[in-house]
C-alpha cells in the first residue's frame, strides 16, 4: 500500500470555480501522495475535469489553494504547471493534428541546435526511444498525427506527458477511446509509473475503469466532493452509490444498493 505518512505531493484545498452563475466546483479538497493513484470519479458534469484543470493550469480557480510539496503555488497557465512537474493528458488529447508525433511530443518545448534551430532528428530519436518503452508497435514518426488511430494518438499524448520527468500526472478519461488491448497497455503503464514514484490523478465517469488501478477514490457530485475512500475499504457498488446518490458507504442502505441495479 502507498505510504501516506509523509507530505502530500499535491493538495487542492477548498477549490471553487464558477462559470457565470453556475458553481462548477464548490469547496473541493483532494490530495495526492507520491507513488499513489487517486481515482477521481463522478457523473457527467460533476466537476471532475474543471477541478483538475485548476491544477494543470488550463483554467485557474476562483478561490482556494494549491500546494505542491506542501508549498502554496500559483498556477495560472499550463506553463506554470509544467514547470512544477505537473503533466496532463487531456480527454481530447490536445494534439496538433497537422504535426507529426515528435513535433507533438515536444510541442512548446522543442529541442534546438546551438543556433536555436529545431533539431528534428534529435526529437525524432527521443520519441522513438520513448515509444520503444510505451508502445513498441508505434512506427509512424513522420506523418501528421491526424492520420493515426485513436490508440496511437493516445500513445503520443502519453509520451508527451511522461517524457519531461513529470512528478504529478493527470489523466482525464485516458482509456475512453481505446480497445481492450490498448486499455490494458495503459493500465500497465499506470502501474509502472506508480512504481517509479509518480502521483497520478485518474479521472473517469465509470468506476469500473479506475477501480482496479486506484489506491484511493475521490467521488464528486454536482460540483461537490462526496468523499474520499480507500479502495480496499469499499466495493464498486458502494462507490456507485457515492457517484449516483451522493451517500458515503456508512450512510448507504442495502435498499439503496439494490436500487442501483
Amino acid at each position: 500500500m502507498t505510504d501516506r505518512s509523509g507530505r502530500p505531493l499535491a493538495e487542492l484545498r477548498d477549490i471553487r470555480v464558477a462559470f457565470g452563475g453556475v458553481h462548477a466546483v464548490q469547496d473541493v479538497t483532494v490530495d495526492l501522495y507520491p507513488g499513489e493513484v487517486v481515482g477521481l470519479v463522478g457523473g457527467n458534469g460533476a466537476g471532475k475535469t474543471t477541478l483538475i484543470r485548476t491544477l494543470s493550469g488550463a483554467h485557474p480557480a476562483d478561490s482556494g489553494q494549491i500546494l505542491i510539496d506542501g508549498e502554496p503555488v500559483t498556477i495560472s497557465h499550463p506553463r506554470d504547471a509544467k514547470a512544477l512537474g505537473v503533466e496532463t493528458i487531456y480527454q481530447n488529447l490536445a494534439l496538433a493534428d497537422n504535426i507529426d508525433a515528435p513535433g507533438n511530443v515536444f510541442l512548446g518545448r522543442e529541442l534546438t541546435t546551438r543556433f536555436g534551430n529545431l533539431d528534428d532528428s534529435a526529437m525524432e530519436d527521443a520519441t522513438r526511444k520513448l515509444m520503444g518503452r510505451l508502445n513498441p508497435k508505434f512506427q509512424n514518426f513522420v506523418v501528421p498525427v491526424a492520420s493515426l488511430s485513436g490508440g496511437q494518438r493516445q500513445s503520443v499524448a502519453i509520451a508527451r506527458a511522461v517524457h519531461f520527468n513529470a512528478r504529478i500526472l493527470i489523466m482525464d478519461e485516458p482509456t475512453a477511446a481505446l480497445g481492450p488491448a490498448e486499455t490494458r497497455q495503459v493500465g500497465d503503464l499506470i502501474k509502472q509509473l506508480r512504481e517509479e514514484g509518480l502521483g497520478i490523478f485518474l479521472i473517469s465517469h465509470d468506476i469500473h475503469d479506475v477501480y482496479d488501478l486506484s489506491d484511493r477514490i475521490s467521488v464528486m457530485l454536482q460540483g461537490k466532493l462526496v468523499g474520499t475512500v480507500n479502495k480496499t475499504d469499499v466495493t464498486t457498488d458502494e462507490v456507485l452509490a457515492m457517484i449516483i446518490l451522493g451517500k458515503l458507504p456508512g450512510e448507504v442502505t442495502q435498499k439503496d444498493l439494490a436500487e442501483l441495479h
Binding site: S56, A58, H77, P78, R79, K82, T88, Y90, L93, A94, L95, A96, D97, N98, I99, G103, L107, G108, R109, E110, T112, G116, N117, L118, S121, A122, E124, D125, A146, S147
Partner: protein, 438 residues
C-alpha cells in the same frame, strides 16, 4: 488470380478493394514517398508547366516562353510573391489580413515623402544612404502597423477579418491624406534599382554566379540532412533520389538563369553605354532576388524555427497549442508584424518600380496576395500551407495574366479566368486531400 492475391496483400486492412490500374498509381505514390517528394508541390509545378506550354502554343508568334516575357513575368510576380509568404503564416493561424494593399499605399507614401521631401534637406540630394534610410523607414512603419493590428486581434480578441477590414479603409485614407492625393515622383536613383527595370539588375555574370551558388546550396542542404540523419541512424533518402533531385534542381536553376540571361539591353541603351552592337545581359532583377531571398528566409522561419512550429501548431489546434505552453497571443502578433514588415519591403519595390508613389498604390492587391497563398495550397481551415507553394501560386497567377495580355484578352475576362482558376485550384486540392485522407 495470382495478381489479385498480390494486390490484396499489399492493401492496408481497412482499404477499399482497388480497381484495376490502382496498383500502378499506388506504387508511383510510394516511389515519391520513399524519395520524400512533396506530391502537391509536384502537382503545382506540373500545372505551371502546362500553363506555360499552352500559352507558348496559342500566343501569336509564340512569344510567351521568350527571355523577354519570362524576365518581365519574374519582375511582375515579385511584389505579390513577397507578401504572399507572410500571408501564408497569417492564414495558417486561421487569420486573414485584408489590409496589405492599403498598408502598402500608406507605407509607400511615407517612404516617398521621406526620400523626396525630407532627406534632400537633411543629407542632400542623391545621397548614397537615401535608399537605405527609405527602406528602413518602410520596414519599421510596416512592422509597426502590423504589430498594432495584430495586437488588437490577439490580445483584444477582435476577429482579424474585422480589424484588417478596418485597416483596409483606414490606411488607404491615410495614404491619400499624407499628400492630399498627389503623386510623389521621381524617386532616388539608387532606390529605383530595387524596382528592377533596365538599371535594377545584377547583370549576366553575377546571375551565373548566383545560379551556381544556389546549386551549391541545394547540394549542401542535402548533405547536411544526410549527416544529421546519420547521427541517429535514421533511414536515408535513397541515393538515386538524392542524385535525381540534385540534378533536376541544379539543372532547373541553371537553365532558368541561362534563359533569362538571354534577355539583352535594348540596342539603343547599349549604344548609350558605349557598347553598341553588343549583347549585354540584363541578368536577374533585384525585385526577383529579393523575392527569392524572402522565400528562403521565410521557409527557414516556418520550418526550422520554434516560432514557425508554434504558428503551425496554433493553426492545427489552438487549444492544444495553448495547453502545450505556447505563447499563442504573442505568436499571432508576430505573424502580423512579419506580414507588415514584408508589406513595407514590397511597398519599397513597388514605388521603386513605378518611380512614383500614389495613394492608389496596391489597390486590390490584398486579394492577389491571398489568392496566391491559397492557390499555393494554404488552407483556410488552418495549419496547412507552405511558403514555396505561395511563391508558385503567385507565379501561376501572374503567368495567367501575362499570357492573357499577350493574347490581347480584355481585363474583365482576365479577372473571370483568374477567378475560375482560384476556385478550381482549391476544389482540386480539396478533392485530392479528401481522397488522401481516406
Amino acid at each position: 488470380m495470382a495478381e489479385t492475391k498480390v494486390s490484396a496483400a499489399e492493401r492496408e486492412p481497412e482499404a477499399q478493394p482497388a480497381p484495376p490500374g490502382e496498383r500502378g498509381k499506388r506504387s508511383l505514390r510510394e516511389l515519391f514517398r520513399s524519395a520524400e517528394v512533396d506530391t502537391r508541390l509536384l502537382g503545382m509545378l506540373a500545372a505551371l508547366a502546362i500553363i506555360w506550354i499552352l500559352f507558348q502554343i496559342i500566343t501569336p508568334n509564340h512569344t510567351f516562353l521568350t527571355p523577354r516575357n519570362m524576365w518581365n513575368l519574374s519582375v511582375q510576380t515579385a511584389v505579390v510573391a513577397i507578401m504572399a509568404t507572410g500571408m501564408v503564416l497569417i492564414i495558417v493561424t486561421r487569420n486573414i489580413d485584408l489590409s496589405v494593399g492599403a498598408v502598402m499605399a500608406a507605407v509607400g507614401m511615407a517612404m516617398a515623402i521621406v526620400q523626396h521631401d525630407w532627406l534632400p534637406e537633411w543629407i542632400g540630394l542623391d545621397h548614397p544612404l537615401t535608399w537605405v534610410i527609405t527602406v528602413a523607414v518602410g520596414l519599421v512603419l510596416g512592422a509597426a502597423i502590423g504589430a498594432f493590428q495584430g495586437t488588437i486581434v490577439a490580445y483584444v480578441g477582435v476577429p482579424s477579418f474585422i480589424v484588417t477590414l478596418g485597416g483596409f479603409l483606414v490606411w488607404r485614407g491615410v495614404a491619400w491624406w499624407m499628400a492630399s492625393g498627389q503623386t510623389i515622383a521621381p524617386m532616388d536613383t539608387l532606390f529605383r534599382k530595387l524596382g528592377g527595370g533596365s538599371t535594377g539588375t545584377v547583370g549576366g555574370t553575377w546571375s551565373w554566379i548566383l545560379g551556381i551558388a544556389a546549386c551549391a546550396g541545394i547540394v549542401m542542404l542535402q548533405f547536411s540532412k544526410r549527416r544529421q540523419r546519420n547521427r541517429y541512424g535514421f533511414r536515408q533518402r535513397p541515393m538515386w533520389a538524392e542524385v535525381t533531385i540534385a540534378v533536376i534542381g541544379c539543372g532547373a536553376v541553371l537553365l532558368l538563369v541561362g534563359f533569362l540571361n538571354r534577355y539583352y539591353l535594348p540596342p539603343a541603351l547599349a549604344a548609350q553605354a558605349g557598347k553598341a552592337g553588343q549583347n549585354i545581359s540584363l541578368g536577374l532583377a533585384y525585385p526577383v532576388l529579393i523575392a527569392i531571398g524572402v522565400g528562403i528566409v521565410m521557409t527557414f522561419i516556418a520550418t526550422r524555427r520554434r516560432f514557425g512550429r508554434s504558428v503551425y501548431a496554433i493553426g492545427g489546434n489552438p487549444e492544444a497549442a495553448e495547453l502545450a505552453g505556447i505563447k499563442t497571443r504573442r505568436t499571432i502578433v508576430r505573424t502580423f508584424t512579419l506580414m507588415g514588415l514584408l508589406v513595407g519591403l514590397a511597398a519599397a519595390v513597388q514605388i521603386a518600380r513605378l518611380n512614383a508613389a500614389v495613394s492608389s498604390l496596391g489597390t486590390g492587391m490584398e486579394l492577389n496576395v491571398i489568392a496566391a497563398a491559397v492557390i499555393g495550397g494554404t488552407s483556410f481551415a488552418g495549419g496547412v500551407g507552405t511558403i514555396v507553394g505561395a511563391l508558385l501560386g503567385a507565379l501561376i497567377m501572374q503567368s495567367l495574366v501575362s499570357g492573357m495580355v499577350l493574347l490581347g484578352i480584355e481585363a474583365p475576362l482576365q479577372d473571370i479566368v483568374v477567378g475560375i482558376v482560384l476556385v478550381l485550384a482549391v476544389t482540386l486540392d480539396t478533392i485530392f486531400r479528401r481522397r488522401a485522407a481516406r
